[in-house]
């Protein structure tokens, strides 16, 4: 019992210690405006780090977010800011912890890919209350009563429409049976499939033959192994002509399943993202085409928007980058794949 009370007392002592009171005793050599020694000090020298930006990425096991992180870091560095990158591992709890940490560290700005677009709200609100601007990229936050200073992402709906057009182009006038590998947990993927369906529905309207029929919509988890398993299951039930996968890993999983069933040359795959392995697969003819996203641009623009925000300049508070369709011909001329 004594030990417990000691511990609890220690806990309380910790909670009561106020490092701010040490302000006056701790002298500093790094202060940028040491007004006591110089009554008319200069403005901060440019060599010193101007501050830190905290980035809680959705998951760093997906190269897409790694690219965002790298480009954000590089661009911020150019303007004199350091970036801390943390992996939220798709876990809103972890992401909330990251935001708490950033607030404790008094970062200049916070960037997140929300792990849950609603649940992350209270954590963002805390950052708002601490006066730290919050930016999002790729995924948007829709929680009520929170202030997001800037967002940049892909126009997923437009991307879905492009995927639909690519599907029509690939299947030709004959139409066919299509499997969709979905990932409903991500709102971005819901938008992609909505855009895709709009184009396909418009194509089918008033058509007697040669319709494009969606025979199954399965969860591919956005992952290679789950995409593989779902496609293998679908092949048992349907004679497929095409697959639309909401990202590259699940598209490649689908290809493995088709290849095993010796149907890879008969079934068309449309992917999404344009990650390096996806582009490579398009070059090899495994995937017909991808609407590609621009993660590098997302990272750069996010950093630039933070700088603009601090500078007091205007910028688009919500910016959606349109995707572009990437086919085999593009892959053959892509310097990235040489």
């Amino acid at each position: 019992m004594r030990k417990l009370s000691l511990l609890l007392m220690g806990l309380v002592a910790v909670l009561c210690c106020r490092p701010e009171t040490t302000t006056n005793t701790a002298t500093s050599t790094t202060t940028s405006s040491a007004a006591t020694s110089n009554p008319a000090p200069d403005i901060t020298p440019a060599t010193e780090s101007k501050g830190t930006i905290g980035f809680s990425a959705l998951t760093l096991t997906n190269p897409f977010f790694k690219i965002i992180a790298e480009n954000l870091t590089k661009e911020a560095k150019k303007h004199g800011y350091d970036v801390i990158v943390n992996d939220a591992d798709r876990d809103v709890n972890k992401q909330a912890k990251h935001i708490d940490n950033y607030i404790a560290q008094k970062v200049t700005a916070i960037v997140i890919n929300p792990a849950d677009r609603v649940t992350i709200g209270p954590a963002v609100k805390k950052a708002n209350d601490a006066g730290i601007p919050v930016f999002t990229n790729d995924l948007q936050c829709v929680a009520e009563g929170v202030k997001i200073s800037g967002h940049i992402g892909t126009d997923n709906y437009q991307g879905g429409k492009l995927a639909g057009e690519a599907m029509i182009e690939a299947l030709g006038e004959n139409g066919g049976k299509v499997l969709i590998l979905h990932f409903k947990q991500a709102n971005s993927c819901v938008l992609r499939v909505d855009g895709f369906m709009e184009v396909i529905d418009a194509y089918n309207e008033g058509r007697e033959s040669g319709k494009i029929e969606i025979v199954a919509t399965l969860d591919g988890g956005g992952l290679r192994d789950e995409g593989y398993a779902a496609t293998a299951d679908a092949l048992q039930a349907h004679e497929l002509d095409a697959v639309f996968a909401i990202n590259d890993p699940s598209a490649l999983g689908a290809w493995t399943a088709l290849n095993e069933a010796q149907k890879a040359d008969k079934v068309v795959i449309i992917g999404f993202d344009g990650q390096l392995e996806g582009k490579q697969a398009i070059k090899e003819g495994k995937i017909y085409a991808d609407p590609i996203q621009f993660p590098a641009q997302m990272g750069q623009v996010t950093a630039q928007n933070i700088i603009k925000y601090l500078d007091g300049e205007e910028f688009a508070e919500v910016e959606l980058i349109p995707t572009e369709l990437y086919r085999k011909a593009d892959a053959e001329n892509d310097p990235e794949l040489q």
Partner: protein, 448 residues
Amino acid sequence: MKKFLYDNGSVVVLVLLCLYYAIATVDTIYPVGPAAGRQLARQLVAAYGDSTEVMVVVGESASEREFAEAVRSELESSGAAVHVLLADKPATVRQGLVEFASGRQKMDAIATHHAGMQWGPLQADRLQALASEVPALRDVKVHEPRSYRWPTFFTQANLINVINQNSAIFIIAIGMTMVIICAGIDLSVGSLVALAAVVVAIVAEKVSAGQPVSTPAMLLCCAAGVLMCALWGMGSGIVSTYFRVPAFIVTLAIMSMARGLAFTLAGSPEGISIDSAFLTELGTGRTMGIPNPILVMIVLYSASHIFMTRTRFGRYIYAVGGNPEAARLSGVPVKGILVMVYAAGGALTGLAGVIETARFESGDPKLGEGFELQVIAAVVVGGTSLFGGEGRIVGTLVGALIIAVIDNGLNMAGVDSYAQMIVFGLLILAAALLEQLKKYAWKRMSAK
């Protein structure tokens, strides 16, 4: 002294970790708050004299307001003229400057915090450019409070964070300690957190019909969540004791069922928002400066420590874990105790689920992912034996602190996230090894 060290090996580990992070996270701190404001005001008086004219430019948050207010009151008490501009974002600073300064002859200085030093409108060249429009801004200088070097790990805000953000883990660890002392295990805790969160949210949605939920109604919703987790816990207890299915398998099955049920009930993978003043207060409010989740946690730890050391039931739990046959022969209701322990573990998990729901103001079926491993790690690092019969609530408190500190410190020290996983694993292994070594050494010492 030696005995103290042997008894409290994990405390030593904790202290060493904290010391390490204290060194590893030393960084420049740019203070914002009343103390910093007063310091800056004194700095300005020293530089410009008593009758200076100063403008304070900061953002709108509570701490920035306090800062501005401190600068104002300190400067005004020495006769200076002060104007405060609270800007909602840097872009509105320029307009505020123009509005304030255009009617004036001369302004000596602008006071802001470190973040403000980076704002475009406060840069020297921009101020000079503005001076052609507003002469008072000619030669105006921008000042910030003095910064200092201090470990970012050892700030009050961060130390509160470390405990507060892990309070659910801390609370579940109490129940897990009892379960593991009984030589059992419960893998379902993470999923039960999610299930509790979703149940609380759904019940709240039903009773509120779009309105904010009243406090008594919200308490009932929370009770529903806790009760349901207690029932699931009781279920694992019954199946594992009366049907002799290993607890590992029973709770593994429940882990899957509860997670699936949480997603099914929620109907979508997204969180269900709850609008309740009580819940917001529980999750993010503070009492006497201490976050409410920490207070709940302190109460639970004190109560369970007394329960485990001072009550008959507490002693029964140790007896059942140490040697069930001997316990049975001495008249301890072994099976009943086991079922009760699992039910208590479930209830505590449900309570942790309520705390998480309160923190996020929504019932999210994705919550609690991976909690079981963190909790088991905390309990074992805290010195509880997986073979049963041995362990202390205080030990678990220290173990959970170690896990929490490792996690937080790695973030604060800016360790790369891939490397974090490796270091996290290594540190847990080291802490557990040390605990074993300590026991071994203690045995040898007492044998002599």
